[in-house]
Symmetry: C2
Subunit: 140 residues, 2 copies
DNA sequence: TTAGTTGCAAATGTTTTGCACGTTG
DNA sequence: CAACGTGCAAAACATTTGCAACTAA
């Protein structure tokens, strides 16, 4: 029982969810992913570890974990949703339109300005999701 | 032939697209929409003007107009894509999670910071899309 | 024991597409 | 008239769900 898997189990319990083998696997697969996998990819990686996990369970687990705030769903255009473990600090996503690569970018100042702006409108941010489509500048 | 419809026709021609009645109707419907309609809603509003326009054409027109940069597709979560005419100034979208209302918010400073940050990474922004899920603060 | 979870397959909802016909340039 | 666009219905695609079997608490 590693520290990490204990954390997963505890996080599930805290969320009022049962600790099942399937959820543990999906969580650990997502946690260990450096990229931002979609449900298909998570299913493939999960199946490689435990062939009995079904596609439906991957989706249901993702929905449950998102609901619990443990993971985040990213909506990209023209492609299925991707997922990431909820980051400690908010960050935006830059997609290289030529390579498809996703880069996380972070700015405390932008975040602060955004929060202030939203508060001035009388709202409180629950979550936000910024997608920047960009292209690498030619290095002169 | 009004100035507005001429602009639509010209915009289509400039994009290398044929000026068809269907495209003109879809464009004008979207242009006159104060909200951010989805394909379903656009189809309904379009059909009210010309009953012969098909659902497929609405989708194909939206794809063509987006490709041409004339309109923008917004990906929300747990609901079909919405559309808006490409705004003169970039703006973000705030969704009131309780009412579903979509509010456009704009900040030149955030935009500037974001552009600078992205440029520092060697990229050039093509487009961006920010979705903020928020809840109205109780007025004390 | 029993409420929550799962696997399977079927269903759902959105968006796309093949094809024959119509229209634009 | 040639290329492009359209309508229709069927297909594709991502995601969700009903149900009977299973399992965590």
């Amino acid at each position: 029982m590693t520290a990490v898997s204990t954390d997963f189990a505890q996080a599930l319990r805290d969320a009022g969810l049962r600790v099942t083998q399937q959820r543990m696997i999906v969580m650990s697969v997502l946690m260990e992913s450096e990229d931002h996998p979609n449900a298909d990819e998570l299913f493939a990686r999960t199946k490689a570890i435990d062939g009995s996990v079904s596609f439906a369970t991957v989706y249901r687990t993702l929905a449950a974990l998102e609901e619990a705030g443990l993971i985040r769903k990213l909506s990209f255009e023209h492609e299925p949703a991707r997922f990431e473990v909820t980051p400690a600090a908010e960050h935006d996503h830059l997609v290289d339109v030529d390579t498809g690569e996703v880069i996380e970018i972070e700015s405390e100042e932008i975040e602060r300005l955004r929060r202030e702006l939203v508060e001035r409108l009388g709202y409180e941010i629950i979550s936000h999701n910024t997608l920047i489509r960009a292209r690498k500048k030619p290095r002169s």
